[in-house]
Structure formats: structure tokens, C-alpha cells
């Protein structure tokens, strides 16, 4: 093998530098299933190093009370949440009932598929999930191979915050167990992708067969401080 392509600029950034492009009103995808695989240092950084507010958050949950995305909610930074399961954080229920938070609820598989589709240049898709239920109401229907489906448009974001176990110096990512969850899908579906990792290894240290997120998806890497 020959030498690697030299990165054109340092990929590893400080939290504040990496998050500086986040604007008021931005749409953010944030990885994690509850707090597992959530980029907690980046979420803390959003609060500590930016004033970004009026955010739309696409994430399976909105953290837990006062933890993870739950902090962002309590600080009044979140205008809208798109996800599948918010009831595990009572603060979300309270904010919704107070009229302070807009919610777009999707079946978890539809959420994951819409993100994957957004990253893969697919405009929209049909799924059987949700047809004939309250979540399918008002959606375009289509019968395919004899089965009714509902239409969903794909999802894109301005910024994705993802959590991985390890990056190489090009930005290739590998994950840890079920902390993988939504992270690889979200890493494909935003204009700016910031990965929080425990460790950065030299180019060539990751097995090419094992890389889950190829580096072309990743714009910046931040260290979790948990190596």
C-alpha cells in the first residue's frame, strides 16, 4: 500500500471551534438511543460555547430530565423535536403541554429510514408502518404489491452531532456496540457532520472492511475526553 492522502486541514477540533457554525434556527440531528451513543460532550458544548437557539432537533428522544438533550430543552434552546419516543423525559411532556415545544412524532423505523434516505439522496419513500393509524392520518397512501403504504419525505439537517468510538485521522469512524444506533445514519444526512470520539488513530489503523462511516461523511472530530 502507498502512503495515505494527507488531510487538507486538521480534522480534530476543539468543541467550541467545531460548533461555531451552528446558527439560530438550525436543524440538528443528534445521535443516540436515550443517552446511549449520544454525543454528550458536543451537547454540553452547544450550551456552554454557543448561543444557538430556536433549534429543531431530530433525535430518537430528547435525553433525560436535565441530561443530554434534556439540558438543551430546559435552557429553552429547542423549538421543535422530531423523534419517536419522548415520553421517557417528563420535561418534554411539560414543554409540549405548555406550548413551548413543537413535536413531530414518527415511528422509530420511519425516523431511521427517513434519515438514511436523506443521506442517500432519496427524496421520499413508502412504508406500511403507520398506515391506518393516527400517525398515518393525512399522509398520502399508495397500494404496493397489494399492501397499503404511507409516504414519508426524507430528512436532512444543517448539522449532525454523532458519537463514535474511534476515528482515524481522515475521519473514518467505527462505533461501540449498541452505541452505534442512529449515529451512522445521521452522519450521512447533514451539511456539517461533527463526530465525538474517544480516540483518534493513525490512518491505516482501522480495517477497511470494518469501517462503518467512511471519512467522506465527516467534517470535524472532537474528543470525548473519555479515552
Amino acid at each position: 500500500m502507498t502512503a495515505p492522502v494527507t488531510p487538507t486541514r486538521p480534522l480534530v477540533r476543539g468543541v467550541a471551534e467545531a460548533l461555531a457554525p451552528v446558527r439560530d434556527g438550525a436543524t440538528l440531528m443528534v445521535g443516540g438511543f436515550g443517552l446511549v451513543g449520544a454525543p454528550l460532550r458536543l451537547i454540553e458544548g452547544l450550551l456552554a460555547t454557543t448561543t444557538a437557539t430556536d433549534l429543531t432537533i431530530i433525535s430518537n428522544n430528547l435525553g433525560e430530565p436535565g441530561r443530554g438533550l434534556g439540558m438543551l430543552l430546559l435552557e429553552g434552546r429547542v423549538r421543535k423535536a422530531v423523534g419517536s419516543f419522548f415520553t421517557s423525559n417528563p420535561d418534554v411532556v411539560a414543554a409540549y403541554q405548555a406550548g413551548d415545544l413543537e413535536i413531530d412524532l414518527l415511528p422509530q423505523g420511519t425516523l431511521a429510514e427517513a434519515i438514511r434516505a436523506g443521506g442517500a439522496g432519496i427524496g421520499g419513500f413508502y412504508t406500511r408502518t403507520g398506515w391506518g393509524t393516527a400517525l398515518g392520518e393525512g399522509r398520502e397512501e399508495r397500494v404496493i404489491r397489494g399492501e397499503p403504504h404511507v409516504y414519508h419525505e426524507s430528512l436532512r439537517a444543517d448539522v449532525a452531532l454523532v458519537r463514535a468510538r474511534r476515528a482515524d485521522e481522515l475521519g473514518n469512524l467505527v462505533y461501540s456496540k449498541t452505541a452505534r444506533n442512529f449515529n451512522p445514519d445521521m452522519a450521512t444526512a447533514a451539511d456539517l457532520v461533527i463526530a465525538e470520539v474517544d480516540e483518534v488513530v493513525p490512518v491505516g489503523a482501522l480495517d477497511p472492511e470494518e469501517i462503518v462511516t467512511p471519512h467522506l461523511f465527516v467534517d470535524a472530530v472532537v474528543l470525548s475526553g473519555r479515552a
Binding site: V93, Y96, T110, Y175, K177, T178
Partner: protein, 215 residues
């Protein structure tokens, strides 16, 4: 055995040996504890095929949880995958059995398990995908609600999770199979009478011949 575990244990005979099974949150999760060692491959929709037993206190890995967000282990032969791939398995018909909880079940075997009228609808998770995609769906539930009201009703008053009927309904008292004609009672738990089931079930059901034969 407590009530949830009694129900979970009654699900086991309905799971084929070697099947790929997804266990929903609540009573369904307990089914794992009653499956004979090696009997099934457990899939969890947050991205693992091959869920193993709950780890001991010193063995918890914060990156390794099931869909109920509780720590688990991984068996040899396990694999991890992204959420989109996990739900591809589920919607694509690659999970053989899903065991789900239910708030209500109607006379056609359709279930409501994600929303309650009058409360904000803020959580659905993977319930709709599992109900649509799994080849066989088993409901594991208490026979009645906490206030004693029937959960098996002519029509659900809560929003349905899908239009698809489940295949089997297992409670602590009874087991029903579901076909195009509706519910058929196929088993009574020890000490439970047909009269008790009739009194606590608000949907019509047939009784399997095996249960009505003279003793």
C-alpha cells in the same frame, strides 16, 4: 412467580426453537428469562442480534443495552448494526416473532399499545414497525387493566398500533389464537375457569374443542 413472570413464562411454548425474536418493553422483556438456554436469537431494535443475559453488577457496559435501555450482554455470534438496518430487518419480515405488550385488544386481534386518548401522544418507538413487520406477533399482557376493566374488547377505544391482527394473545389466565374469524380460546391457565375468562373478556371468542371436551 409474580404476575408479569407468570405471563412471560406462558409465552415460551409459542416461540419456535432457533427463531429470531424481538421482545417489547415490559412483560415481553421478561420472556428472555424463561426461554430455555439457546432456544432463540433475540433481536433488539436499537441494533443488536444476539442479546444475552443481564450482566452481573461488575460487568455492565454502558454501550450495550436493549430497547428498554437496560444493560444486556451479547452472545457469541452476535452482531451490531445501525438503526436503519435494524428496522430494515423488522419491516422487511426478517424477524420471525415479536412479543409485544398491549393496552387493549379487539375482537379481530388488533391491538392498541402506544397512546391513550386525552393524553399527549409523544411516544411510539418501534411498536408500529414491529407489529407491521414481524412474521408472527404474540401479545403478552395482563388479562385485565389495573382497575379490573377488560383489556380484550369488541373494539379498542385507544388508537390502534396497526391494522394488522396479532397471531396469539397470552395472558396470565388464557391463551387465544387469532384467525380470520377472530379470537379462539386455546388454553386456560391452571385453576382458571372458562367462566372467569368469559366474565373478564369483553369481546366474543370461540372455545377450542380441546377445552370443551368432557373431562
Amino acid at each position: 412467580m409474580d404476575l408479569p413472570n407468570r405471563i412471560a413464562a406462558r409465552v415460551v411454548p409459542h416461540i419456535p426453537h432457533g427463531a429470531v425474536v424481538n421482545l417489547g418493553i415490559g412483560i415481553p422483556t421478561l420472556v428472555a428469562d424463561h426461554l430455555p438456554e439457546h432456544a432463540a436469537h433475540l433481536q433488539t431494535e436499537n441494533g443488536l442480534l444476539g442479546v444475552g443475559p443481564t450482566p452481573g453488577p461488575g460487568e455492565v457496559d454502558p454501550d450495550l443495552v436493549h430497547a428498554g435501555k437496560q444493560p444486556v450482554t451479547a452472545r457469541p455470534g452476535a452482531s451490531y448494526f445501525a438503526s436503519s438496518a435494524s428496522f430494515g430487518m423488522i419491516r422487511g419480515g426478517h424477524v420471525e416473532v415479536a412479543v409485544l405488550g398491549a393496552l387493549q385488544i379487539d375482537a379481530r386481534g388488533r391491538i392498541a399499545n402506544w397512546a391513550i386518548p386525552g393524553k399527549p401522544v409523544l411516544g411510539v418507538g418501534g411498536a408500529m414497525d414491529l407489529l407491521v413487520g414481524a412474521r408472527t406477533v404474540i401479545v403478552a399482557t395482563t388479562h385485565t387493566a389495573k382497575d379490573g376493566a377488560a383489556k380484550i374488547l369488541e373494539e379498542c377505544t385507544f388508537p390502534l398500533t396497526a391494522r394488522r391482527s396479532v397471531d396469539v394473545v397470552v395472558t396470565e389466565a388464557a391463551t387465544f389464537r387469532v384467525d380470520d374469524d377472530g379470537l379462539e380460546l386455546v388454553d386456560l391457565a391452571e385453576g382458571v375457569t372458562l367462566d372467569w375468562v368469559r366474565t373478564h373478556t369483553a369481546a366474543p371468542f370461540r372455545v377450542a374443542a380441546s377445552l370443551t371436551a368432557p373431562v
